[in-house]
């Protein structure tokens, strides 16, 4: 036991070293000084209170989608459609805000209702993927991918069509909402909303408890590990898959709602910002463990924010963070494969 644990740590360490090594090679190939680049990322993420706050701003949606994805992963589902679910959440939130902004209702009520609408939107989109799988036999990966395209097309159509800015439609999105309809932020300039941060932290704790301590979580786990056996043990299998889709959609929709109400204050074309795919990587890297997912998500958020300065300072593309994140996940998964091979199971025939 002790031996396997230490060898596990060794393999995980090797994965990180390899990922950094590969990213360094990419940097060298791009004729950039690797050390300066890394230093720049670190500074960009923790160099000042402002950038640190930005890391938290980025952490919120990532944490939310990761929380949702942990539920679908537990049910054995690859909810690739998460991007579309975030987008639908943002669309529904915008729709509710637009509808109520002139109603004279209390702003906090309007914001709450908009966020609820966003959650409903995400859930709806997720249930669509679930229904395609359950009743149409469409693998959730393909269904999700298709729905992602539909969601972003719908989003663009709204921005350039019915919801376009008076005068000229633009990639910069819809008309910003009045500041009274923004989720309150820490300071006036900051985009960090303490309430959003609290919601995200609550979400991950909730999911942790749900998966760890409830009957529902255990049944979900059984469905994910072996739907046949779970069914024979009396677990209503497809119903659990649908519920897990819906729950994940709610969290994704919440992420979309947060982006609209506290970060952009309007609907923009790339409202999901790739947080869905990033969340998939976080969940995998965290070994589908909620407790590990929170710090990993924070690390990924820091990489994202930290690399924003790269184009300005080093004339390097900020996608460097993506390279590092991607290779990290690949190597960690690779090391898991190696470990299983060493343990003598999962050998390819």
């Amino acid at each position: 036991m002790a031996k396997t644990r230490s060898s596990n740590a060794l393999l995980q360490g090797a994965a990180i070293v390899l990922a950094v090594l590969l990213t360094t090679l990419v940097l060298l190939a791009a004729k950039a000084p690797p050390f300066a680049a890394y230093a720049n990322i670190v500074l960009g993420a923790v160099g000042s209170w402002d950038v640190a706050a930005n890391v938290l701003v980025s952490w919120v949606p990532l944490l939310l989608v990761t929380a949702g994805l942990l539920i679908t992963f537990t049910a054995g589902l690859w909810n690739i459609g998460i991007e579309g679910q975030i987008t639908l959440g943002a669309i529904f939130t915008t729709w509710m805000l637009r509808g109520l902004q002139a109603s004279g209702l209390d702003p906090s009520l309007i914001i709450s209702m908009s966020i609820l609408a966003g959650m409903a939107g995400g859930a709806l989109w997720a249930l669509l993927a679930g229904a395609l799988k359950t009743f149409g036999g469409v693998n959730e990966i393909f269904g999700g991918l298709g729905l992602n395209f539909v969601a972003s097309a719908l989003n663009l159509w709204l921005i350039f069509g019915p919801w376009k800015r008076p005068g000229v439609a633009s990639m910069s999105g819809t008309v910003p909402f009045a500041p009274s309809l923004w989720l309150p932020t820490l300071t006036e300039q900051s985009r960090l909303s303490p309430s959003a941060l609290v919601i995200a932290l609550l979400a991950i704790v909730l999911v942790y408890l749900l998966l760890k301590g409830t009957y529902f979580g255990l049944r979900l786990k059984a469905v994910g590990k072996n739907p046949n056996s779970a069914y024979l043990l009396g677990v209503p299998t497809w119903q659990h898959m649908m519920i897990s889709f819906a729950l994940c959609g709610i969290f994704a929709g919440l992420a979309g709602a947060v982006q609209v109400t506290s970060v952009y204050h309007r609907l923009i074309p790339s409202i999901s910002s790739g947080y869905g795919y990033l969340g998939l990587m976080v969940a995998m890297l965290a070994g589908f463990n909620a407790a590990v997912a929170a710090p990993v998500a924070l690390f990924f958020a820091a990489l994202n924010v930290g690399s924003i300065q790269l184009p300005i300072v080093l004339r390097q593309d900020s996608s460097l963070a993506g390279v590092l994140q991607g290779t990290l996940v690949l190597f960690v998964l690779l090391m898991q494969g190696v470990r299983e091979r060493l343990a003598g199971k999962g050998l390819p025939q």
Partner: protein
């Protein structure tokens, strides 16, 4: 081609699939390989056709020792095999499938291939359209296609593993005619089957396998009785049935017809009464599993009614059956019954289905320890189920059964278990019967069927016998029925009774 096998050995884990097989197969003959499921027939054939390597032993072809590394290697040496489970055919045109795997040019000469295909097909009177798609073919036609392909590749040895399962009678006759013709032309044919009739009809010699060993051989004229004895004979240890007089009907099937992948079951009617044990006997894939699934609501009959007690439950789901006191224990314990990755305690929590939101871990722990003790499982509540041995996994499945059950359906309840576990499991099942449950079980072990059943349903290629009282059955008679012998007597007896 002459093939000689010398002391071939192959083990899978603790299973000795081939325990030193030596066999000489002369050219231009049809060699039958007979044996019940799990006897090791397919394993030997896979070794001969390069799908698996033996642990030890020699293969000698026309006097020279060869090592066959891969199926492609086997084909090169002229050995072609038709598999028991036709490998999944891609949705290709017949001609493309025919050409597939042929060595040589990157761009096959389709016209030449089509011509040769037609000539070959005509030679054996196969009615195959080279432009049709493979997935529209019946099992029998796929087989014909596969034979043509192997011949075209130049096979001199043709291995057929259970080729008569799932094909129609005319197709079977055509197959046999083809094989005889090929043998006359000098080809060596190895015909693997568990069907006595087929082997007796076709083969010029028969080798009988039992539990990984070659236990005997025979040449025509065959004596069915001695073949059956070779296939099944074991030291019999009857402990006598202690059956309680059966009560009211728990499960009743009326005119149930079922359709499965390669099988149709027509018009089955029987009743399982409280306290009764009904055994389903037959070679694997003869229809028992489908029927048992239908008794559980896991397969839906195409016609007929299923009743539980007074209620008609035809068409309801397994979960609806469960609510009415039915439990189904599958043969594949880790694939269908237990969830690998979850602990023993988790399983008890799942199957108890207690209400509330949060799991009461303390109570779950107590429940698990309690059941583990009662069912004598070697494992702790926190252990993962996959760490249990086979016998303990089976005990685990039993331990997961609810307190009050009216019908227990089991697939191979003691397969692969040691004597002690087997006896223990049956003692537990007997307790359930004494409490008024009915049991229906499938077993490939004839002794087990005869020893524990009150009545037996015999299956052969989708045919189902009426319930036969186990007392009037012997291993020979049951073995004959399973191999397709003695059904005419059965039918006339049924007519006489009716």
């Amino acid at each position: 081609m002459q093939i000689e096998l010398r002391d071939i050995r192959k083990t899978f884990g603790s299973v000795r699939a081939n325990a030193g097989i030596s066999l000489l197969i002369p050219p231009a003959s049809i060699q039958g390989i007979l044996g019940e499921n799990g006897a090791g027939k397919s394993t030997l054939m896979k070794i001969l056709s390069g799908f698996i390597l033996p642990d030890s032993g020699d293969i000698i072809m026309d006097g020279s020792r060869v090592v066959i590394h891969s199926p492609a290697d086997a084909i090169r040496r002229g050995v072609g095999m038709l598999h028991q489970d036709p490998l999944d055919f891609p949705p290709l045109k017949i001609l493309d499938d025919f050409i597939l795997g042929r060595r040589g040019a990157v761009f096959p000469d389709r016209r030449k291939a089509a011509r040769e295909f037609r000539q070959l097909a005509a030679q054996f009177d196969f009615d195959l359209d080279s432009e049709a798609y493979v997935d529209t073919l019946t099992v029998g036609e796929r087989q014909q296609l596969e034979i043509l392909r192997l011949l075209w590749f130049g096979a001199g040895v043709l291995i057929l593993d259970e080729p008569t399962t799932g094909i129609s009678q005319p197709q079977k006759e055509k197959l046999f005619a083809t094989l005889r013709k090929l043998a006359d032309q000098g080809m060596t044919i190895i015909f693997v089957s568990h069907k006595l009739e087929d082997v007796e009809l076709l083969c010029s010699r028969v080798a009988v396998f039992r539990q990984g060993e070659l236990v005997g051989s025979a040449e025509p004229p065959y004596e069915t009785k001695s073949l059956v004895r070779m296939m099944f004979s074991r030291d019999l240890a009857f402990t006598g049935r202690t059956s309680v007089p059966p009560g009211g009907p728990i499960l009743s099937l009326r005119g149930v017809s079922l359709e499965a992948l390669r099988l149709q079951i027509r018009d089955v009617s029987f009743e399982a009464r409280a306290g009764e044990v009904i055994g389903l006997a037959g070679m694997e894939g003869s229809g028992q599993s489908v029927l048992l699934s239908a008794c559980a609501g896991l397969a839906q009959p195409v016609s007929g009614r299923v009743r539980l007690g007074e209620n008609d439950v035809t068409g309801l789901s397994y979960h609806a059956f469960m609510k009415r006191g039915v439990a189904y224990l599958p043969a594949a314990r880790l694939e269908q019954g237990l969830v690998a990755g979850l602990s023993l305690a988790d399983h008890f929590i799942l199957s108890e289905g207690v209400g509330g939101i949060f799991i009461d871990r303390g109570r779950a722990q107590d429940l698990a320890s309690d059941r583990i003790r009662t069912y004598n499982i070697k494992g702790a509540p926190s252990h993962q189920v996959e760490s249990l041995s086979g016998g303990n996994q089976q005990r685990m499945l039993l331990a997961l059964l609810k307190e009050s059950l009216s019908l227990i359906l089991l697939e191979h309840p003691t397969r692969g278990l040691d004597i002690e576990s087997t006896l223990y499991i049956w003692s537990k099942l007997r307790e359930r019967c004494a409490q008024g449950a009915a049991i229906v079980f499938i077993s490939a072990d004839l002794d087990e069927v005869l020893q524990y059943s009150d009545r037996v349903l015999v299956f052969f290629s989708g045919r189902v016998s009426p319930p036969l009282p186990a007392e009037g059955l012997s291993v020979e008679k049951l073995g004959g029925l399973i191999g397709g012998k003695g059904w005419d007597v059965l039918a006339s007896a049924a007519v006489a009774h009716g």
